[in-house]
Every structure is written in C-alpha cells, then in structure tokens.
C-alpha cells in the first residue's frame, strides 16, 4: 500500500534521478569540448586582451598598463589600411577562385568520370595538402625561381621562346600566394563536395536524364541545390582559416616584396615576433579575433546555417 505522499516522493526521486543523469551526460558529452574551448580559445583571448593593454616588448617585461597600443592601431599605423585591403583580396580571391569554385569543379568532374580515374585525380589534388608545408613551398620556390633554372621559366623559355626569365615573386606576388594557397585549399572543398554529390540519390539523375536534361541542366538543377549546405560550410570554414593562416606566405614571399603580400595575420606576426612589439601585436590580434567572430556570425546568418542544420522535415529516399 503506497500513499499519495510516497508516490510523490518516488516521482520526485525519479525527477531528481533524471536531472542528475542529465547533468552527468552534460559533463561527459560536452565537458571535453567546453574544456578545450575554454583552454584554447577563451583563455588565450583573455591573455591577448590583457597583453594588449600593456607595453610588453622584446624582453617580455611589463612596466605599465596602457592604451597606447590601441592609439597606434587607430592613429599612427599607416600600413594597416593597405594590409586590410590586401587581406580582403587574398581571402576572397583564394576562396572564390580555388577553395569553392575550383573545389566544386574538381568534385563534379571527378565524380562524372570513371571511378578509378576520378579517385586518381582526387588523389593527385590531395598531394599538396599531404606534403609538409616547407617541402611544398620549396617546390614552389623552384618553380617560380627568377633564373633560367626555374620550372616555369624553363617551360616558357624553351617551349614558348621567351627571351628573359620572368620574376613572378616580384611581378605577381599576390597571384602567387593565392595560387599556392588555393592548390591546397581546393582539396578540402573537393572532398566535401564529392561526398555530398555521392549522397544525392541516383534516381534523381536518371529521372533528369529521362526528362531530357543535359549535363549543365543536371548540375544546375540536381547537383548544385544538393550542395548548398556543403558550399556554405566550406565558405565559412575556409574564410576563417584563410584569415588566420600565413605560414605558406611567410615561407614563399616573407610578406614581400615590401609589404605586398603581408596579410593581416602575417602583419601581426611581423610586428610581434620580428620587431618584438608584443603588446602591439596582441592589440592587432584582438581585432583579428573580433573580425573572425563577426565573419562567422555573418556567414551563419547569410547562409541561414541554422535552418540548414535543422532536422530535415521530409526524408528523401
């Protein structure tokens, strides 16, 4: 015989048990991710903000807390506008030409041909990503060497009769950093788009063919609509990745000639680590973090990622 009070107690215990279970699950499943985010994002951001309000310089000593670094950012640093303009060209150039468009072309063409050949070409395009960055850039340095020994000059001079060797590192440095980064970036889009194309139900292509759709019509009306989510993801992800990465540029052009290829992240590096202005570097880096967060949020909004991440209302089989 249980009384109403007992039943209530059991129910409360049940609720309490469920709440405890929810808490445990939260800790087990989200704990590691939260810990990593705090350790590798929140804590560095706090350190960066703190350093940006100091005069930390080459001997790593702080003698005062100051807003001097922000005054420099807004008032005295005349390179900054040029650097921001270049970063825009570099990020959107690489993204628009290679990471999305070329990645998409590679995915569509390698899925349209025989499986073996498709896999082979995808493998070839993955090689730059698999090579160590120093090795990859060494090959580039040889390819664009301004002497007759450079690969591109050998081809142009011997096959096309060019008189004097070209110096692409001086005459076209921005194009070079876009191409060298794009060759690596394209492979990520290629893999994600290939997986997405493989996921499109086969019968849709057959139905389109029966309806008389040509290759371009099939791409336009079947393939591309199915790739909306992957394209949005690759765009946002690669934008953020291009904004903060500079190792290939540093290795290839060292940010030069002059400041021609010094993108924002490399500028922060040059200021902080080549000139020893750590406080100023931290202030500049803070803007990079802010820009990154804004770009991510804008992308989320623009591509309507929330809706894309929702559970599909109709299952397509």
């Amino acid at each position: 015989m249980t009384t109403i009070a007992d039943e209530l107690t059991i129910e409360r215990r049940g609720h309490a048990g469920a709440a405890a279970r929810r808490r445990t699950n939260f800790v087990i499943f989200l704990g590691p991710a939260i810990l990593l985010t705090v350790l590798f994002f929140v804590v560095p951001v706090i350190i960066d903000i703190t350093v940006s309000f100091t005069d930390l310089s080459r001997s790593l000593r702080i003698s005062e807390f100051t807003t001097e670094q922000y005054e420099k950012v807004f008032r005295t640093d005349r390179r900054l506008s040029q650097v921001i303009g270049l970063t825009f060209i570099y990020v959107f150039g690489t993204l628009a030409i290679f990471n999305v468009t070329f990645g998409l072309i590679l995915a569509i063409t390698t899925t349209a041909i025989r499986n073996v050949s498709g896999s082979f070409f995808r493998g070839v395009w993955l090689l730059p990503r698999m090579s160590p960055s120093v090795l990859y850039i060494l090959l580039w340095l040889w390819a664009v060497s301004p002497t007759e020994a450079g690969l591109i000059n050998q081809v142009l001079m011997q096959a096309f009769g060019l008189d004097a060797p070209l110096d692409l590192l001086t005459s076209a440095p921005i194009a070079l950093i876009i191409i060298s980064n794009g060759f690596i970036g394209a492979s990520m889009g290629m893999i994600i788009f290939t997986a997405a194309i493989r996921g499109i139900p086969e019968h849709l292509f057959h139905a389109a063919a029966v309806d008389g759709a040509g290759t371009f019509a099939t791409i336009r009306f079947i393939t591309l609509p199915a790739l909306r989510w992957p394209i949005s993801f690759v765009t946002i992800y690669q934008t953020l990745s291009l904004l903060v990465s500079f190792e290939y540029i540093l290795l290839l052009t060292k940010g030069g000639p002059f400041y021609d290829t010094t993108v924002y992240a490399l500028y922060v590096y040059r200021r902080a680590f080549e000139s020893g202005q750590y406080g100023y570097g931290a202030a500049l880096a803070l803007f990079l973090i802010v820009i990154g967060v804004i770009v991510a949020l804008l992308g989320w909004r623009f591509f309507d990622m929330e809706r894309l991440l929702q559970r599909p209302r109709i299952e397509v089989h």
Binding site: R58, S59, L60, K72, R78, L169, P257, F258
Partner: protein
C-alpha cells in the same frame, strides 16, 4: 705470583705502548691523507654558460672562451684558489645577429639568461637598458694585462651612454668588392681599374660613377648584374646612408636621428641603380648563397659586403685565388665611395663583442675568462682563420697575421671606418630602412616615399626619434 703479576704488567705496558703507537701512526697517516685530500674535497667548479650564435664565420668566438678556461684554471691553481671554471656553450640557431639578439632578450626576460654572451655591438645598449648587461669599466681598469692594449677605437663600439658594457672580440671592414675582369671586358683599361681603390679613398670616385661603371658592365658583357647587396637586414648598405651623411644618432642626446633629405638622397642612389638596370629589382628576394654565387662566379660587377667573406666563402667555396697577387689581378675592393667628387668615402666596421650578464654569480671570473679569451694568440687564431681584423696591436707582429694579406690590406680602410650607432633601437630602425630599400627596388616606393616611409614607421613604432 708477584713475578707473574710483574710479567703481566710488563705485557700490559707493552700492549699499551703498541696500541698507542699504532693509534698514533693511524692518526698521523689519516691526518696526512686528510691534509693531502683537502684541496680536492674543497675544490669548487664554477659553471659559466656562454650564449653563442651558430656562426660558421666565427667558430672561435666561443671556441676561444673554451680554450681560455684552461689558462684561467692554471692561473687559479697558481693562486691557490679552490675555484675551477667550466664553460658550457648554448648555441642559438638564429640566422643573423639581429634575430639572435631578439631571441636572447626574451631568454633574459624569462630569467633563463646565460652568464656571458656574444653579440653584435649595436645591440648591447638594448641589453644594458633592460638591466641584463654588466657594466665593465672597473673590471677593465683592474685587468690591464688582458684589456690594456685593445685598440681604443674599438672600445667606442662597446659603450652605452653611461659606460662600457662589452669587450670587443673582433673587427672587420665593409667595402664594395669588384670584379676587375668584367670591368676590363666592359672597356675600362687596366690602369683605370687598378686605380679605383685609390680614387675611392681620396674621394675622387663617386657612388654614381660606380653605377655608371656597373651599367657599362651590364650592357657590354655577359654579366647580368651591376651591383648586389645583402638580401637581408644588416650593416653593409648602411655605408651608402653614411656616405650621404646619415649617422642615425644625434650626437648631443644620443637619440635616433632621421634627416629626411639625407635619407632621400641615399635612397635615390638605390632608385637610380634599379632604374639603370644595375641593381636587380629582386635583390632582396634572392637567397644569400645564390647572390654570393652570382658575384663570385663572375655574373656581377660589384658586391657590397665584408672582408671576412673572402676567408669564409670566396676562397674555400668559389676558389678565388688565395695568393695576394693572383687575387688582385682579377678581383679587388674599394671603400664606399663619396656621394660627390671631393666628398668623404666610407667604410664600416661591425665589431662582435663579448658581454657579461648583470646577474652572473661570478662576474670576476667571467671577466678574467673573457680576458684570457682575448689573448693576442687566441684572437689571431680567430682572425686568420676567418679573415677578421684583430683587436690588439701586438697581433700585427704575429707572422701568421702578417701572412694573411686580406687583413693587412683591409686595415687601410680603418682610417675612414665608422660604426653602426650603439642605440638600443637601431636594430629595429635598420629593419625599417631595409624595408625602404626593398620598397624602392621592387618599384613600390620612390626615393622620396621611402624616406617618408622610414620616418613614419620609425616615429610610430620607436621611441624618442628626432626627425629633421
């Protein structure tokens, strides 16, 4: 019974004597052993750490300090001191002395600094300003046997505003090397080519004439380049700025000084060089080794660099003649020419120095150790093997030194030589000047814009810059 007792007593007496003798012998032996062992037990090893950049152009800079430990330890032994010195070298892989100094400042900043370090002289005040370098005036006066004969002119490269903070380790000379063979091929007669060093020293040969000669070489011979300079931040190209009157430091205040017109005039020389096709537009993008190869294999008329490169690279790697007469038949060097006829020529010397950390526990021993490392014979070992100039007059009498003709010949340039300024921010300013040269050569800036660029950058990122 009595007799028996007497015998017992005698035996007892003997035993006592024997025991006492044995014990005394043991005590005596023990004391002797203890006495003998005392110096060993009390000997104290002092470990001193020396920071040195891995530098093939001067392996004996740290090497001589290690050799000096033996001399110092003998001296300590003779003095009856229980201390013995041991040196551990911490090698840094930095590409140049600028990178090395920046790295070392951080190392000191986190409290991991060495007891002694090797640096380019223009950086010492950066260490002094942050309290990392030991003031040496009293020690130098205390040990005249070690430091008394070092050339007085070299000491000025070891000074900061309030005293001496370093010990000169070597000196050298920067110049414009030139390829006589190419000049002759371009139509200049041998007498003209051979007279160039004299003309440069007297102020008759100008910087613009060098561009003209280089242009003739590029136009009339197979050589591709007229004038080459280093492809990274460093001292040589500063000669051109010094020729046009920039010394970068205000003599009265010791602060950095930038004079716009003088900067623009020096940048103008680089601009004219590139426009004439004499200085390559990609000079700053070239690899150092590739650039050297261009000059030493006869593809460039002039190369702005330093005397030590002959011993370090030109002779061993590119097989330039090591015999004086044979060398000067096809190669030579001139001082940095004057900007206009009758003006002053320039040469630059870039001493490397030993510095002692302010917080070393054994400053006295460190000073004495570096004193021994600066001994004439050891310094001559460094000088003759790496073609650097010595630091003491007695080295000039060493037959090995006299035999090393590049040293004797380069010493002529010391009459007109200058130093880089010992200002703690000069290293940073030099980086900005180098970026200005890069801007001009790659066609991104005009000479006027480059001067403005240097002034803007320096004013915004450095402190206390005087602009005129």
């Amino acid at each position: 019974m009595k007799a028996c007792r007497g015998w017992e007593e005698i035996r007892m007496f003997h035993w006592k004597i024997g025991t006492a003798a044995l014990l005394s012998a043991a005590f005596a032996a023990g004391s002797a052993a203890l006495l003998a062992a005392t110096p060993l037990v009390a000997q104290e090893t002092v470990k001193l750490e020396l920071w040195s950049r891995q530098d093939p152009s001067g392996p004996l800079r740290p090497g001589n300090v290690i050799k000096a430990t033996e001399r110092l330890n003998k001296e300590l032994e003779a003095e009856g001191s229980p201390k013995r010195v041991e040196v551990a070298v911490r090698e840094s892989p930095a590409k140049g002395f600028d990178d090395d100094a920046l790295q070392l400042l951080k190392v000191f900043g986190v409290g991991e600094g060495p007891d002694m370090f090797i640096a380019a002289h223009e950086w010492i005040c950066a260490f002094q300003e942050d309290g990392f370098a030991l003031k040496l005036d009293d020690y130098i006066a205390k040990y005249p046997q070690h430091f008394g004969t070092i050339f007085p002119s070299l000491w000025s490269s070891a000074k900061c505003p309030d005293g001496t903070y370093a010990i000169p380790q070597d000196a050298e000379a920067r110049m414009f090397f030139y390829n006589k063979k190419l000049l002759r091929e371009a139509g200049y007669d041998a007498a003209f080519v051979d007279a160039m060093p004299e003309r440069a020293l007297s102020g008759d040969l100008t910087l613009d004439e060098v561009l003209e000669i280089a242009k003739q070489v590029v136009d009339k011979t197979k050589a591709q380049y007229g004038v080459l300079h280093r492809p990274n931040k460093g001292p040589d190209y500063i000669m051109v700025f010094q020729a046009y009157g920039s010394d970068f430091v205000d003599p009265t205040t010791g602060k950095l000084l930038l004079e716009r017109d003088k900067l623009a005039a020096a940048f103008g020389w680089f601009e004219r060089g590139v426009k004439e096709g004499v200085i390559p537009a990609n000079n700053t993008a070239m690899e150092f080794d590739a650039l050297r190869k261009e000059f030493y294999t006869g593809n460039a008329a002039f190369f702005m660099y330093g005397i030590w490169d002959l011993g370090s690279v030109a002779f061993p790697t590119y097989g330039l003649p090591q015999e004086e007469k044979a060398f000067f038949a096809d190669w030579g060097w001139i001082a940095g020419p004057a900007p206009q006829k009758g003006g002053s020529p320039v040469s630059l010397t870039h001493p490397i120095v030993y510095v002692i950390a302010a917080d070393t526990k054994e400053p006295e021993l460190a000073v004495r150790l570096l004193g021994h490392a600066s001994a004439a014979d050891l310094n001559t070992d460094h000088a003759v093997t790496t073609t650097h100039l010595g630091i003491k007059p007695e080295q000039l009498e060493d037959p090995r030194y006299a035999k090393a003709w590049p040293l004797a010949r380069a010493t002529e340039l010391l009459k007109i030589t200058k130093f880089l300024p010992n200002n703690s921010q000069f290293g940073d300013l030099n980086g900005i000047i180098y970026a200005g040269i890069q801007g001009i050569e790659s066609g991104r800036l005009s000479a006027e814009q480059a001067a403005d660029f240097v002034i803007e950058e320096a004013s915004s990122s450095l402190e206390d810059v005087i602009v005129k």
